[in-house]
C-alpha cells in the first residue's frame, strides 16, 4: 500500500504566543514542532508499510522551516517527501491548502492519505476531509485502529462519549488519525543518515496557485488573553481547606 501522510509544522505547545503588529497572526519567531496528531499518522503509516509493504510519502505545505518535519519523517522511515514550499502556506486557509495539495499530488498514485485529526494551530480539522472531497474519495475521521481487508480497510473510529464504530471502506481513501493510536518511534542514527539521501520533491506556489484559488475566508483579528484567571489560593489544614472549598462552591460559585 502506498500511503501519503500530510504533516504540518506548528508552534510548540508550550511556546509563548505573541501577535504581529496588525494583530492578525502570531509572530512567527517561535519554536516549532510537528503537529502531534500528524506524528501519530506518520507512525501508523510506517506500521502499515511494515506489515503490508509499499511506500510512505510525507508531504507538508509551509515555509522553508517546515522542511524540518519532512527530514524527521524521512529519518523515521518515510521513503520520500513532497514540500509545497512558500511563506504563503503558513497562514493559508484550509480549502486553499487542500486544493494546493490535491494539485501537487495529481500525478501520484496513493492508496491512502493519512492526516492528523486536526492541527494544534488552526484546529479546523478540515484539510483531510477537504482533500477527500476534492479527490472524490471516501473518508473517515478520528481513527483509532486500521486493519487491511481484501477490498480495502476496516477502521475503528471514535464517536461521541465513549462510543466507537467499525467501518469497512474501500481504497483509495482518506483517514484522519487520532493521537494515541500507537506508540511513536524515535529516529535511529542510521535513519538520520539515510534520510539525507532520500528524495524531496519541491513544489513552488506558482505550480499550484491557480488550483488553490482565492481565499474564501480571512482572519481579521487574533486575541491572546494576558492572564486567564485570578487564582485564589485556599490554605489551611485539610479539614479547613475542605470546609472553605465547600463554602465557596456552595455560596459563591453556586454549583452544588
Amino acid at each position: 500500500m502506498n500511503i501519503l501522510v500530510c504533516l504540518k509544522q506548528v508552534p510548540k505547545k508550550d511556546a509563548r504566543l505573541t501577535l504581529n503588529e496588525a494583530g492578525t497572526w502570531i509572530r512567527e519567531d517561535v519554536p516549532y514542532e510537528v503537529n502531534e496528531p500528524d506524528a501519530y499518522a506518520l507512525e501508523e503509516a510506517l506500521r502499515q508499510k511494515e506489515k503490508h509493504g509499499g511506500q510512505v510519502t510525507v508531504l507538508t505545505a509551509g515555509p522553508p522551516r517546515a522542511q524540518q518535519v519532512l527530514r524527521e519523517a524521512l529519518a523515521k522511515g518515510a521513503d520520500r517527501a513532497i514540500h509545497l514550499q512558500d511563506d504563503a502556506f503558513a497562514a493559508a486557509d484550509p480549502l486553499r491548502t487542500a486544493r494546493a495539495i490535491a494539485a501537487a499530488i495529481r500525478d501520484e498514485a496513493f492508496d491512502m492519505v493519512f492526516t492528523g485529526l486536526q492541527s494544534d494551530d488552526f484546529g479546523s480539522a478540515q484539510v483531510g476531509v477537504l482533500l477527500a472531497q476534492l479527490l472524490g474519495w471516501p473518508s473517515a475521521t478520528i481513527i483509532i485502529g486500521i486493519e487491511k481487508t481484501e477490498a480495502g480497510v476496516r477502521v475503528k473510529r471514535e464517536l461521541e462519549a465513549g462510543e466507537f464504530q467499525l467501518l469497512d471502506m474501500p481504497v483509495p481513501c482518506v483517514l484522519t488519525i487520532q493521537s494515541g493510536i500507537n506508540k511513536l518511534r524515535y529516529a535511529t542514527l542510521m535513519g538520520i543518515k539515510q534520510a539525507k539521501n532520500k528524495p524531496v520533491r519541491q513544489v513552488t506556489l506558482s505550480e499550484v496557485e491557480s488550483d488553490a484559488g482565492q481565499p474564501l475566508q480571512q482572519i481579521t483579528r487574533l486575541y491572546v488573553p494576558l492572564k486567564q484567571k485570578q487564582t485564589e489560593m485556599v490554605t489551611g489544614t485539610p479539614a479547613e481547606i475542605a470546609r472553605k472549598l465547600a463554602e465557596l462552591l456552595r455560596d459563591r460559585v453556586r454549583v452544588i
Binding site: 496528531p37 483509532i144 484567571k229
Partner: protein, 314 residues
C-alpha cells in the same frame, strides 16, 4: 434562507440543534430559519422541529437511517442550493465537523469551523472561534456570499419552542451510493454521566499516584458531586483509566460549570480541553504547576488528605 441541519435521535432533536436555532435567530438575516431533518422514520423529530423553525424540510428515507458523511453532505448541499441558503449551520460535533468540509467544497463556500460566536455585519458573516489549542481567540470573516458554519456545542442557549407549529415540506434528494459500511459498534460505558453532558467534572492525573488512589479520591468525589470522571492523557496511556474519560486530547473538550483537577499538572493539551470551564478548582502538590494559571481556586497539598476531607465536608 438560513439552513440548519438538524440532528435527531429517537424522535428528539439534539441540544445542539436548539442552540443553532438561537444562533440563527440572533443573526437577523433575510429569509426563513429552516430546519432540515434527515433520517428514517423521523416524523416525531420533524414535528418537534416545526415548533422551533419558520419552516421544516423533511427527508424521511430508509437510506438515511444511519449517518454517513457523503450522504449528509450531498443532501445538505442540494437543499442549500435549491433554497438559495446564504448561511448553513451544522452542529460542531464529530459528525458535523466531518461532513461540513464536503458541503463547503460543493457550495464553494467559506467554512467557519467550531464557532463560539456569530454575527452578520450587514455585509459579511463574522465568527469567533478558538485556535492554538484554545489559547487564542480568533475573529474570522467569510469572503463568499454563502458560508457554512459549524457551531460549537454550548455557544448559544437552547431556543424555546413556539406555540404555533411551522409548515413541514417533504424534499426529494439525489443521494450518492454509500461507500462506508458500518460493521460494528463498541461502547466503553463507565456507568457514570458522560463527560460532554456533565455540569460538574472531577478529573485526575498522574499526581493522584495510582489507579487505586484514583478510585478512592477522584471517583469517590465524583460520586459525591454527581459528576463525570475525567482523566489526563498520561494516565489513559498508562492504562489506569478508559479512553472515554480522557479530557484535553485534541478534539475532546469539556466546558462544565465546575471542573475539579486532582493531581493534574496542566500540560497545554489538557488545559485546551478544559480551560473554558466555568469554575476550576485545582489540587496539586507542586505550587508551580501550570494548572494553577487557569484555576479559580488553588490548593497546594496532598490530594490523599484533602479529597477525603472534601467528601466529608460536602
Amino acid at each position: 434562507m438560513i439552513l440548519i441541519v438538524a440532528e435527531q435521535a429517537g424522535g428528539q432533536l439534539s441540544k445542539s440543534t436548539l442552540e443553532m436555532v438561537t444562533g440563527a435567530r440572533e443573526l437577523h438575516r433575510d429569509g426563513p430559519v429552516t430546519l432540515l431533518v434527515l433520517g428514517a422514520n423521523i416524523a416525531a423529530a420533524a414535528a418537534q422541529a416545526a415548533t422551533f423553525a419558520d419552516q421544516v424540510l423533511v427527508a424521511d428515507r430508509p437510506e438515511l437511517a444511519q449517518y454517513d458523511a457523503e450522504l449528509w453532505a450531498a443532501a445538505t448541499a442540494q437543499i442549500a442550493r435549491e433554497g438559495e441558503a446564504h448561511t448553513i449551520l451544522i452542529a460542531g460535533d464529530r459528525a458535523g465537523r466531518e461532513f461540513s468540509p464536503r458541503v463547503a467544497v460543493k457550495l464553494e463556500a467559506a467554512l467557519l469551523e467550531d464557532v463560539i460566536g456569530l454575527r452578520w455585519t450587514g455585509s459579511a458573516l463574522v465568527a469567533q472561534r478558538y485556535s492554538f489549542l484554545a489559547r487564542v481567540t480568533e475573529t474570522v470573516e467569510a469572503k463568499s456570499a454563502t458560508a457554512v458554519v459549524t457551531v460549537k456545542p454550548g455557544a448559544f442557549s437552547a431556543a424555546q419552542p413556539a406555540a404555533a407549529a411551522a409548515e413541514q415540506f417533504d424534499v426529494e434528494l439525489e443521494l450518492p451510493a454509500r461507500r462506508l459500511q458500518v460493521t460494528g459498534k463498541a461502547v466503553e460505558k463507565t456507568g457514570r454521566i458522560a463527560l460532554a453532558d456533565a455540569s460538574i467534572v472531577v478529573a485526575g492525573g498522574r499526581g493522584v499516584g495510582s489507579p487505586e488512589a484514583f478510585t478512592a479520591q477522584v471517583e469517590a468525589l465524583a460520586d459525591k458531586l454527581g459528576a463525570a470522571v475525567g482523566a489526563t492523557r498520561a494516565i489513559v496511556d498508562a492504562g489506569w483509566r478508559p479512553y472515554a474519560e480522557q479530557v484535553g486530547q485534541t478534539g475532546k473538550t469539556v466546558q462544565p460549570k465546575l471542573y475539579v483537577a486532582v493531581g493534574i499538572s496542566g500540560a497545554v493539551q489538557h488545559l485546551s480541553g478544559m480551560n473554558k470551564s466555568g469554575c476550576i478548582v485545582a489540587i496539586n502538590k507542586d505550587a508551580d504547576a501550570p494548572i494553577f494559571k487557569v484555576a479559580d481556586y488553588g490548593v497546594v497539598g496532598d490530594a490523599a488528605q484533602i479529597v477525603p476531607a472534601m467528601i466529608a465536608a460536602l
